[in-house]
């Protein structure tokens, strides 16, 4: 008889689940379309209006602007992460999953491994393609950036990390809330509503709180020179990773304590 189940066999199981549903395929396709498509729209629009808007030339960042599509793709990756978990609860298959692997932390770890590896691949390819395409569109009219510059390379690669980490946040919310609709509402609120609420606060508070928001962290990570009052790219990566880790630890704790 073959050996006992291991984490590797649980990862294999989760990989079969991840790739065998339409929602994953759709989610990945939408991530590509949003990142690359919106990147193309933004860069083409900037190229068209470049000469007529000289006031925009000051402090222009060819990297951040070309990666603008990630602002939309972040919802797609959040949904991919959340649905990977909530679909098990909505269908009831979580019971079969936990009966097959009663060590629940292994299930959470395996899902995390599958999600992170898949999203890392998808996001990095998406941001690299978008960046190169954006620079090609800018070329000749708008100043461009090159990946041979280490700061530019960092900004592009961190763009992929940003998307991956938001996928992990979506997954952790999935374990904590168990319902797709609840997850998507909370996720959207974190990204979209939080900045609006902060905007209504006094400016000293805005500066203190604003830099901790996921969307601000994303801006810091994807820019060559991070905005004022924000974390540097490395600091933002650390803070966002910390969020993802804390949420996943909370998720694993809840998973092991609650009835399935």
């Amino acid at each position: 008889m073959s050996a006992h189940p291991t984490l590797a066999s649980v990862v294999r199981s989760e990989w079969i689940k991840f790739r065998s549903v339409r929602s994953t395929i759709m989610g990945v396709a939408i991530t590509f379309v949003l990142t690359i498509g919106i990147g193309a729209l933004i860069t083409a629009s900037i190229r068209t209006h470049w000469t007529s808007h000289p006031e925009a030339h000051l402090g222009f960042d060819p990297v951040t602007t070309s990666l603008g599509g990630t602002l939309f793709a972040q919802f797609a990756v959040g949904v991919i992460g959340a649905l990977f978990v909530t679909s098990e609860y909505s269908s009831g298959s979580i019971r079969a999953t936990l009966a097959a692997t009663p060590r629940r932390v292994e299930v959470a770890t395996a899902k995390l491994v599958v999600l992170v590896v898949s999203l890392l691949l998808v996001s990095e390819v998406a941001v690299l393609v978008t960046f190169l395409m954006g620079q090609a569109i800018y070329s000749g009219v708008v100043p461009t950036a090159s990946l041979s510059n280490p700061t530019v390379l960092r900004a592009v690669l961190f763009g992929g990390l940003y998307l991956t980490l938001l996928g992990v946040v979506g997954m952790a919310l999935g374990w904590l809330l168990r319902q797709s609709a609840a997850c998507i509402s909370v996720f959207t609120s974190l990204i979209l509503v939080l900045p609006i609420v902060t905007f209504l606060l006094p400016s000293s508070w805005q500066n203190a709180i604003g830099r901790f928001e996921p969307s601000t962290l994303g801006q810091s990570m994807e820019s060559v020179s991070p905005p004022a009052h924000a974390f540097g790219a490395g600091g933002a990566l650390v803070v966002l990773t910390l969020y993802a880790v804390v949420l996943m630890v909370a998720a694993a704790t809840v998973l092991t304590r609650r009835d399935a």
């Binding site: 006992h4 065998s20 549903v21 298959s93 009966a99 009663p102 304590r257």
Partner: protein, 301 residues
């Protein structure tokens, strides 16, 4: 073997299972009966390590479910029909389960063939009928060729041919020496499927025993009609029987055998026109046993 010791499970204020003690033996089909909401599914979820007991414990082959090294090779369960992502194919669902326990994929095709789903193995489970969903659940339970099997309401949604098939399946699994634990809210189903029967109501054990034991324990009654009802009634009551007037001047006598009633009538000079022993059916026994434990009764029944 499955053992349940002093199991209590409370969900906020409701007590689903209350101090339950059970042993489910291998080699026989054990029917687990009770009205809806009596705690059958909760008990099964606790056995499977899905719900944590408030008190007490459940073990499979002497160990709590969490400590099983190869869960799918030791225990197989059908807890819910069609509890599968509707977008996934039957084969991929089973392959994911198989992979987690290092069961070869060839076994997936074997069980699909066995339950009669081989021709729809690559179809989305969302398009399956309830009966096909049950068959897929049975395939999942059999995947690891386990010695202990649990089925929660397995006949729901099956057509008559499917019901016969599943009955034969339970019998053959038990004949191979496996532990087969099947829940149902229908006594009529269990009467023809199970060897041993456990009846619970409101989370308590009501009774357990073989199908034969249960019907034997059920007190039958004797319908008797004679030429002097009042004298007969007095004699019967004096002998300690319970007596009620049935139709047509007949008496329904409880607590005495037909022989004893006949002898009593003879001793008191009553001429009998009718002496009919009536045995309660298993269904009636079950209804009587669980009468106090039905959570959502229809009142008039």
């Amino acid at each position: 073997m499955i053992a349940i010791e002093h199991l209590t499970k409370r969900y906020r204020k409701t007590v689903a299972v209350d101090d339950l003690d059970l042993v489910i033996q291998p080699g026989v089909v054990t029917g687990f009966l009770g009205p809806n909401g009596s705690g059958k599914s909760t008990t099964m979820r606790v056995i499977m390590g899905l719900d944590r007991p408030t008190r007490g414990r459940a073990t499979v082959n002497g160990r709590p479910y969490h400590d099983l090294r190869d869960p799918l090779r030791e225990v197989g369960a059908l807890l819910e029909a069609k509890a599968v992502n509707p977008g996934r194919s039957a084969r991929n669902h089973l392959r994911a389960l198989a992979a987690s326990n290092k069961i070869p994929f060839s076994r997936v095709d074997e069980v699909l063939e066995f339950v009669g789903l081989a021709s729809v193995a690559t179809k989305r489970v969302g398009d399956f009928s309830l009966g096909m969903g049950q068959r897929l659940g049975i395939a999942a339970a059999l995947l690891g060729d386990p010695g202990v099997l649990l089925f929660d309401e397995p006949v729901n949604g099956l057509d008559p041919e499917g019901i016969r098939w599943i009955r034969d399946l339970f019998r053959s699994l038990a004949a191979e020496g496996r532990t087969v634990f099947v829940s149902s809210h229908l006594m009529s189903e269990m009467a023809v499927t199970a060897d041993q029967i456990i009846v619970i109501g409101k989370g308590h054990l009501i009774t357990q025993g073989s199908v034969g034991d249960l019907t034997a324990a059920a007190k039958g009654s004797v319908v008797v009609r004679g030429n002097d009802r009042e004298r007969l009634e007095r004699a019967l009551r004096a002998a300690g029987a319970t007596v009620e007037v049935a139709n047509d001047e007949a008496l329904r006598v409880g607590g005495l055998s037909a022989e004893a009633v006949g002898q009593l009538a003879f001793d008191h000079g009553v001429v009998l026109f009718e002496l009919t022993p009536e045995r309660a059916s298993l269904e009636e026994v079950y209804m009587a046993l669980t009468a106090g434990a039905v959570e959502y009764g229809s009142g008039a029944s």
